[in-house]
């Protein structure tokens, strides 16, 4: 099979002075084009490190990341990241934050007015066009994250990397944004790799859930296919046996076989 994104035997060890900590060990994962894959695990298991390796923000110790059979080891707009804390630049307006990436990525391929239209198109996709002249401090947390998503989408990434994108939001906003991301995935067919620690979120959004064992030396413990038809509806799924079964599997993995010891 032809993998779109391939994580090939990735190890990561951090060295500080004489102490070395092995964070990730033997991570193998292939993701198809258009697939939505979630990585779930307890905090500290290295899932954010893994995402940073895919993004090119962190180097891996062994192994490599292949995107369309080409090795990638530095950050780039083809693997745009939606950061957990939105990371919008506070001195730029919503529009300028999105425009920053667009100006770089489409510097030669789009004219000035096309870039402007493209920014507005992406702000419209996340329903944030109305706030284009506001600064990040003037909009809510959910709105900031929408802008973060628009900024990533506007770079037309081959893979969209979501680093616990809804972690800092309240439950209602989170649900609303999850629905938006699902709709966008449906509409645009992006390949998405998402880090999460929320079981419901993982089952609701993903085609596959990658479950990580606890660190140090975290591995992929299990990969679960989520065989639910799209579009998925939150309310209908609440009683869907397939959904409940998937949820049960993930919960068992996280809380029975790989309990987070330090949490006790």
């Amino acid at each position: 099979m032809h993998a779109y994104l391939k994580l090939d035997h990735i190890d990561k060890t951090f060295t500080r002075g004489n102490a070395t900590t092995e964070v990730l060990k033997e991570i193998n994962l292939t993701i198809d084009k258009g697939e939505y894959v979630s990585i779930i695990g307890h905090s500290g298991c290295g899932k954010s490190t893994l995402l940073n390796i895919v993004a090119g923000l962190t180097d891996c110790t062994n192994g490599c990341v292949l995107l369309e059979n080409r090795e990638v080891n530095s950050p780039g707009p083809d693997r745009a990241v939606v950061f957990q804390n939105h990371s919008l630049l506070p001195w730029l307006t919503v529009y300028e934050n999105v425009r920053l990436g667009v100006d770089k990525v489409f510097a030669s391929s789009k004219t000035r007015s096309e870039r402007d239209a493209w920014v507005m198109h992406n702000l419209n996709l996340v329903q944030m066009a109305h706030a284009k002249d506001k600064r990040p401090s003037e909009i809510s947390g959910g709105m900031k994250q929408r802008v973060g998503i628009a900024r990533a989408l506007a770079m037309e990434p081959k893979v969209l990397l979501l680093d616990e994108p809804f972690g800092a939001l309240d439950a209602l906003t989170r649900a609303h944004l999850q629905d938006s991301v699902m709709a966008l995935h449906q509409k645009l067919g992006n390949t998405i790799l998402m880090i999460t620690h929320d079981v419901d979120e993982a089952v609701l959004l993903s085609d596959r859930i990658v479950m990580m064992t606890n660190g140090p030396s975290a591995r992929i413990g299990e990969v679960l296919e989520v065989p639910l038809a799209r579009p998925r509806k939150r309310l209908e799924l609440a009683t869907n046996p397939g959904y409940l079964k998937c949820r049960q599997r993930v919960l068992e993995f996280l809380y029975e076989r790989h309990r987070f010891v330090e949490a006790a």
């Binding site: 707009p77 506070p90 001195w91």
Partner: protein
């Protein structure tokens, strides 16, 4: 599904202004007035709260000064005497009788020009060096110890050296201003650059900004609050240094004016000059602080 919603919008938009213009004169005028009056009253009260205490303190200090210095044989003149002696200088700051016999305006403007030049160079060099030291670990290790030693040298200690180098008072004074104000700018800029959150660096990496774009679009705005702290300390120091430097180099300038007044035993003129020096130092500080506030608008809040 969305169509009806879009259609209704222009309709309401057309109705709204007409309705508003018809209604507002009647409805909004009357209830708005009391809050506005209240607002002015509140503003006046706030101003009074801030202005009255310093005025009282100043009046009391003046009174104390007057009483202490009025006695015969006191070495310093009382305020009434200062005013009487310096009336000409206060009311005619623009006279120019050639040489150094000029109004206070000319002395102050000569000093301000030196500060402006020396400080501008310090701001540019300081931000540039601070960026280098903040960004590169090697530059920090190499330059930081040097900066920490050099910055403790008192401004006037540089003056003989710069006089030897430039062989002229004007560039020497400017150099002293520069060397005095550059250190806080360098150090604060470096701290600001070092404190740029990793998030912003990650964003820049994903977007693939080149170093120049990174400098202009991320570093400077992100470090702006720190940079302006340094600039503010710097302007204060340079105003401190200019008076001392001008006492030694002579010519036109507020520092030499003070020294000249001392040599001619015009103590009242010294007091007047000190008053001006204080006011201008205060205004310069406020100016940089205000500029910083405008420039860093929105930077602090996440």
């Amino acid at each position: 599904m969305n169509m009806p919603a879009i259609k209704t919008e222009p309709a309401t938009a057309i109705v709204a202004p007409a309705a508003a213009s018809a209604v507002t004169p009647v409805v909004s005028m009357t209830p708005k007035r009391p809050p506005r009056a209240e607002k002015y009253a509140k503003m006046a009260k706030d101003t009074a709260v801030r202005v009255v205490p310093p005025l009282i303190v100043i009046a009391l200090l003046m009174l104390f000064w007057e009483l202490v210095c009025r006695r015969t044989g006191s070495t310093l003149p009382p305020p009434s005497r200062v005013f009487k002696d310096t009336k000409e200088l206060i009311f005619d700051p623009f006279f120019d009788r050639g040489g150094i016999d000029k109004g206070l305006f000319w002395h102050l403007s000569a000093s301000l020009q030196r500060v402006a030049l020396g400080y501008s160079i310090a701001a540019i060099v300081g931000v540039a060096l601070g960026t280098l030291v903040g960004q590169s670990v090697w530059a920090m290790r190499g330059l930081d110890p040097l900066f920490q030693v050099l910055r403790t040298i008192p401004p006037l200690a540089w003056l003989p050296l710069s006089l030897a180098a430039f062989r002229d008072g004007q560039p020497s004074a400017i150099f002293v201003i520069f060397i005095t104000s550059v250190w806080p700018i360098i150090i604060n800029t470096a701290v600001g650059i070092r404190n740029i959150p990793q998030d912003y660096r990650n964003v820049a990496a994903v977007v693939q900004l080149n170093p120049l774009e990174f400098f202009g679009k991320i570093m400077i705005p992100a470090a702006a609050p720190y940079i302006f702290t340094g600039l503010r300390i710097g302007i204060g120091l340079s105003w401190l240094a200019i008076v001392a430097a001008e006492m030694l180099i002579g010519g036109v300038g507020i520092g030499f004016f003070i020294w000249d007044a001392w040599n001619s035993s015009h103590i009242s003129e010294i007091i007047l000059a000190l008053f001006y020096v204080g006011i201008i130092g205060f205004v310069l500080d406020r100016l940089i602080a205000g500029l910083g506030k405008i420039v860093t608008r929105g930077t602090s809040a996440g």
